[in-house]
């Protein structure tokens, strides 16, 4: 039996020897080295979860994944735990350069690539409205925004979709005002009982202004006012005021 299994064992050993350099060359996870006196591993991704393991200086850990402000790492001995992003600042890459990552702090608020937010409170021409928006920053001062809103009133329900440019003054400040301009469409469903008019879809243009206020981590408050000019199919256009206030985060 041992003679029969010898060729198989030999083949397995050869395969392992051949595969070892390949596995070492293409690492699946990022390897970082502890430069701080020690690195604490928590049992879960939160400040309340207890520390159960400590990695010593100059030892390495593999970064498996990230969940919000926490990194899941695996030590050389195979122990897995969660490290806060604050503690990860005490690590370096294999070439000795510091480990950089998106920290999500006040500096990120001043200059970020994407932001998303919701406006739970809103008023669109007297109707209750709620909306959500997404923005991509072209430069820290200028961003392209897309927003979708739904207004529900006693006279009409409807949906609006806008796209526009937003210029932010003083993006490095905690409180930064902005102005906006853009265009969009308005879908309106009138609510009457006697004569049922048809639903309408009209193009609109808007100008607006607002502010954003940094709260903490990646969160900030945002409030804005938009003045919509709806190009109706009637003889005169319609002007609609929209106010909204909400919370947003940046990526």
């Amino acid at each position: 039996m041992s003679l029969r299994s010898s060729p198989a064992r030999l083949c397995l050993c050869v395969l392992l020897i051949l595969a070892a350099p390949l596995a070492q060359a293409a690492r699946e996870y990022l390897q970082v080295f502890v430069t701080a006196p020690y690195l604490e591993l928590h049992t879960g991704p939160g400040r309340g979860y207890p520390v159960f393991y400590v990695v010593e200086r100059e030892a390495s850990v593999d970064v498996i994944k990230r969940y919000t402000d926490w990194f899941k790492v695996r030590t050389e001995r195979g122990v897995e735990g969660w490290v806060s992003q604050k503690d990860m600042l005490g690590t370096a890459l294999a070439d000795g350069t510091p480990f950089h990552f998106n920290f999500g702090d006040r500096a990120g608020f001043s200059a970020h690539r994407f932001e998303v937010g919701i406006f739970p409170y809103g008023d669109y021409g007297g109707a209750s409205a709620f909306s959500a928006y997404g923005a991509v920053a072209l430069v820290p001062n200028l961003q392209l925004e897309v927003s979708v809103a739904e207004f529900l009133g006693t006279v009409a329900n409807g949906t609006t979709a806008d796209i526009g440019l937003t210029h932010i003054f003083l993006p490095e400040r905690r409180f930064s005002p902005f102005v906006m301009i853009g265009t969009g469409i308005v879908y309106t469903q009138p609510k009457v009982t006697l004569v049922q008019p048809s639903d309408t879809t009209d193009q609109s243009a808007f100008v607006g202004a607002g502010f954003r206020f940094y709260l903490t981590r990646r969160l900030f408050l945002r409030g804005e006012y938009k003045n919509h000019m709806v190009f109706t199919k009637r003889n005169e256009n319609e002007q609609v005021d929209e106010w909204k206030f909400g919370i947003a985060f940046f990526l």
């Binding site: 293409a26 690492r27 699946e28 996870y29 990022l30 049992t43 879960g44 991704p45 939160g46 400040r47 309340g48 979860y49 970064v63 498996i64 994944k65 990230r66 969940y67 919000t68 402000d69 926490w70 990194f71 899941k72 890459l93 990552f101 999500g104 998303v116 919701i118 739970p120 409170y121 209750s128 709620f130 959500a132 739904e150 529900l152 329900n157 609510k191 981590r217 990646r218 969160l219 919370i247 985060f249």
Partner: protein, 249 residues
């Protein structure tokens, strides 16, 4: 016979004369010396002997042609740094019971998606549907207030959640599962009785993560809006309880 061997050897020698490796055997050493002279740091003696042997024309050509720099054939190693995978997005579905005010409690199902901004806060969107039954008036009078299609209760909402009590659940002495009790509140729209209403939702839930990428939810939410379906304006409260399964991406 010997003549044949001689012819064969002469033919072989003539054909091998073109081979670069054998060229110097037949007096082809001059190019090799030229290469040595052109090489930076090459032998100066070799260069001078070569130029002397080839005469003055050769000296002029050396002055016109600058020494050739050897291009190092070193392939740079492409170091690819592995990307860190983020799992801040949670997507899944749920199933439960929705009590539509005046129209009874009925099964509800829906989908939900959340983005976790920090360990505390998350943004969540939900969309679900249920079908209302008959009011007590309809049962007693046999009069239908709503059509069959108008009895579908469809809703969606955008909420902000807060992980109020994060913790761990221990299964025996070897397993500890991450858990969290959370609260959330938001706004949305509810479509019922042929009309769509602005709706405020709030609730609480409890989730357990059997692994880092999957979560089991139990949640209770209330959806409140102004209703006039039965002819009287009132604040309709629609309580919902559901269990859900979500996955982290």
């Amino acid at each position: 016979m010997e003549i044949r061997y001689c012819v064969l050897l002469v033919a072989a020698a003539a054909s091998l004369g073109g081979c670069a490796s054998l060229r110097h055997l037949f007096g082809g050493g001059a190019p090799q010396a030229q290469e040595q002279a052109n090489a930076p740091g090459g032998s100066g003696a070799a260069a001078s002997s070569s130029s002397q042997s080839s005469g003055g024309a050769s000296q002029g050509s050396d002055a016109d042609n600058p020494p050739r720099v050897i291009q190092p054939e070193v392939e740079r190693r492409q170091v690819t740094v592995p990307k860190i995978r983020s799992q801040d997005i949670e997507v899944g579905g749920y199933f439960g019971t929705l009590n539509i005010e005046d129209f009874g409690a009925h099964p509800v199902y829906g989908v939900q998606a959340a983005y976790h901004v920090s360990e505390d806060f998350f943004f969540q969107a939900e969309a679900g549907r249920s079908k209302g039954g008959l009011t007590s008036f309809e049962v007693l009078s046999n009069i239908q207030l709503l059509t069959d299609s108008e009895r579908w209760f469809k809703y969606y909402d955008l909420s902000v959640g807060y992980n109020l009590l994060p913790g761990e659940v221990f299964l025996g002495r070897n397993y500890a599962l991450i858990s969290s009790f959370y609260v959330l509140a938001g706004v949305g729209a509810s479509q019922f009785g042929g009309d769509q209403k602005f709706t405020v939702n709030f609730g609480a839930g409890y989730k357990i993560l059997p692994a880092d990428w999957i979560a089991l939810h139990v949640a209770v939410e209330d959806r409140v809006y102004n209703s006039d379906v039965i002819g009287v304006d009132k604040l309709a409260s629609n309580l919902e309880a559901h269990i859900g399964l979500t996955f982290f991406f």
